[in-house]
């Protein structure tokens, strides 16, 4: 990007607007990725809590929500045998402890990914701010040029036409 003190021509202004739009689209993608990761992390944390709670329960009786605010009382037959989705639609049986370990590893990975995405998003937003500033500067220069009488103001011209 050119130095901010340079004069901006209209061609550059258009290019900057295009860049800003593209960066905005990229930022939206990263923001939704961040949201997905955060949702996944929260879900995994809730699962860890539930698994640990199962081991502490007396007879494995829990409330199973069936939607619409309705629940049924169910008894978990084997609180130490957990069926765990390990990805690619494959489910394996694990002990409660192993399942918790697996989920905790996933949480750590998701946290690392979240950190990376957040950093990228932050950089992208900083670049967007820079571009927006440059565009604003360009517009101000154009307005100043108009007011200096180098060219008739666009609005005044339109009003005269009307």
């Amino acid at each position: 990007m050119p130095a901010s003190t340079d004069a901006i021509d209209q061609r550059e202004l258009l290019a900057l607007e295009q860049h800003l739009k593209q960066y905005g689209q990229q930022a939206e993608i990263f923001a939704s990725q961040l949201e997905l990761l955060e949702n996944g992390r929260m879900e995994a944390l809730a699962a860890v809590e539930a698994l640990q709670g199962l081991l502490e329960s007396d007879d494995g009786t829990v409330l199973l929500q069936i939607g619409g605010g309705a629940s049924v009382r169910v008894k978990i037959l084997e609180t130490d045998k957990i069926l765990l989705n390990i990805g690619s639609d494959v489910i394996v049986e694990r002990t409660n402890k192993d399942a918790v370990e697996f989920l905790k590893d996933r949480i750590t990975e998701m946290e690392a990914s979240e950190k990376k995405v957040a950093e990228t998003l932050e950089k992208l937003r900083a670049q967007m701010n820079e571009i927006a500033k440059r565009i604003e500067q360009g517009y101000q220069q154009a307005v100043a040029a108009e007011q200096a009488g180098r060219m008739p103001p666009v609005r005044a011209g339109r009003e005269q036409d009307e």
Partner: protein, 121 residues
Amino acid sequence: MNNISPKVQNQIAMLQQVQQQLQTILTQKAQYEMAAREAKRAQEEIADLPDDAAMYMSVGSVMMQKKKDVVNTKLAEKVETLELRIKSLEKQEKMLQGKFEQLQGQIKAALEGKPGAPSAA
């Protein structure tokens, strides 16, 4: 835009189309790469399990119990298919990238040879 020749206007429209196609391909490629990584990871996970470990795979809307070697084969097939698709997308990406650069060069040359034209855009 009025001062830009129809030829250049057409090239700009083509450039935008190529850009959109590239974006679609990149998104698809990222999805396939993620699916391939997930399948490889599942392979690694089951490698440590005993041969008689209980395993289920989704078949339609139900999960069916399968033997470890069956799951392994299915995962290997999945990885292979995904990698083939990724390679095919990479070829398309390369081709479109070339087209994009060529069009970009042509438009740039046309606009530079005709000062003031883009300012009317």
